[in-house]
Symmetry: C2
Subunit: 414 residues, 2 copies
Amino acid sequence: MTVVSESVSSAVSACAQAAYRAAPTLAAAPDSAIDGALSAMASRLRASSASLLEANEADVAAATADGMSAGLLDRLRLSPERLDTMASALELLASTPHPPRSAFVRDLPDGLKLYERRRPVGVIGANYEARPNVTVDVASQLVKSRNAGVLRTGGAALGSATALLRSVIAPALEEASLDPAAIQLVPTPDRAAASALVSQPAHIPLVILRGSGETTRTLGQEAARHGVRTLAHADGGGVLYVDVEADVSVAIDLVRNSVDRLGVCNRLNLLLIHSDVYESFLPSARSLLTDLGITLSLPPHNHPIGYEWALDSSREATVTVLPVSSAVEAASVANTETSGLAASIVTTSQATAEAFMDAYTGTGVFWNATTRLLDGFKLLAVPETGINIDKVPGPRGPVTYPDLCLRQYAILPA
Amino acid sequence: MTVVSESVSSAVSACAQAAYRAAPTLAAAPDSAIDGALSAMASRLRASSASLLEANEADVAAATADGMSAGLLDRLRLSPERLDTMASALELLASTPHPPRSAFVRDLPDGLKLYERRRPVGVIGANYEARPNVTVDVASQLVKSRNAGVLRTGGAALGSATALLRSVIAPALEEASLDPAAIQLVPTPDRAAASALVSQPAHIPLVILRGSGETTRTLGQEAARHGVRTLAHADGGGVLYVDVEADVSVAIDLVRNSVDRLGVCNRLNLLLIHSDVYESFLPSARSLLTDLGITLSLPPHNHPIGYEWALDSSREATVTVLPVSSAVEAASVANTETSGLAASIVTTSQATAEAFMDAYTGTGVFWNATTRLLDGFKLLAVPETGINIDKVPGPRGPVTYPDLCLRQYAILPA
């Protein structure tokens, strides 16, 4: 377990209490105030671009001096174009309708009427890497769902995140007559703050953990010990099953479309091929992947079948290949050997597709479509807060702001 | 933490594995097989009543010899009438429609179509007291929701539960061509089996904990440490707020209707009265409650304001009374001092009712209605699996079988 110093713990605790106090005013706010705050964030983002870029420059310079890799530096860097994209996303979110807050269920005896209502959670925590745009992305989705929040970003982006909070998020909330304390940013770069964030069930019952891998897995376990629920996926890895009745050109297109990016959770990680077409299909797959600079890991494997190459920065450009004897076996391998994020079947047979789709229990099951579509924005046209792969009822798969609510039953008199 | 012996641990583990193997056939079963199994349970319950009553007699005799209290003995005892009620409940459940397994969401690019599907969880655990009827109640709801299950009953009811499993549940599943192994009963009366049940996240990701109090609280914490989700409410206690604009006769009726049973979680536990009517309303409330044999705990209190009398068997017949200065203060007391199960306001003012309902964040918020309605069957006309008071997204308040599912996104080609 991570040791959290007194000062880190009290810094996070102060954020949690401030957000908790501000949460009720957000919960009670009219839709117009919420959307007004989001529009104001967009305007302020555009108006403050010079000072935001300056704050980000300082973060980038410090990270460069610390030897940060090119890939991470790219994610840390803001540019006028990125700020513009962020502002457009805020405007889109401001114009997205709010889900109804109350729905009639049925009439009860004595003329009473039952409604199901959607309530905000209260305060939601979020932990994410050193990516300044995520600060605005998550904050805006929390505000849209009427939740207060405590954000904790990777230390390298703390200067940028602080500038975004001070000149964009907080004043926009205030301009819309919402309490600017509703969105808190943990002010310390100490990594232990993430542990403190997942150990305050009374104030922060739910924490969104962005990003995959060991850090997320450890934080998820730590949260569970404290009775804090997380929305997270420590593991990912898309599965594609090429059936005996697959159209080869469709299969090849899907393989290609599933490896357009390699560092993401929903890319092709495991290619399952029906044994009757293994010998005939493998050469085409090999030729395509080799051309793309991707290595095939063929049997016998010296790693677990579901090993996630996206998390192995030195061997990211690898796809595991395995023959299977049926669609149901393919689904079973995907169920038992992988995270349960997403799997797809390529086949012309409806019966086989249905058998595969009924057997696979992961968060997304696709037929003749790439697992790269397992993404809140691509699926639902709203930004995703994150992806959750729990095997229990509740938000699962891409999580979007309408998911961030509690169910409440209300009874009204006649 | 409870120490679980090797033999108890392996008994529960064997149940978990057997249920896990049987789960996929249940998940794939047509609606007709599911409902056929439930109808067959009803027939078998009626046909086997003599042998079931005999098995129950033995449990009751042993419990009597062990000095079990009259209240618990009553809950342990089966009778022809109770068996008939159980059979009728099964027939009702068999005739209740299944929620749609798939719903169209939207068109995606390239002619792809997105669906949201409901999938069973797989295996769900359930821990409950020595009440034989709950074995059938929970088993039938798990079957209706296509989940396999591992049931663990209080040791005193193990003989009855075993008879119900062997002569009712298992053969009915078999008769409907479902795997009888789908419903497992932990074969040991050892209390430590409950701990074993909440520590197998790979096979049993979700456990329903029936009943309130310390056992449930401890099991919930133990489950959390293992990454197992529970649906439970360790604490309950209904809150009634009598507003300054309350109709006194409505208020008195509600008080009376809220204390018809005292050992239940949704009974009146805390009576809040607006300070401007405190002196005028208190005598009527006192007179009514005293007539019903109920003691009022008036300020200054020597216990926490939310202290739950239903869990204190020697002082069950008590109601805490507290003056408050407004509807919003009443909601705030209910939010911070009680479990968040349910609270009700008595008022003739719509504005005050709305302020109260917006401020109270618990699972049920009622206006001029008793908190005794916080019950799956009373609210939704379907049996409840239990009540959950988590403050995170997912099933909350009364949990019914349609809640016991996982969300999965599916993409189909044009």
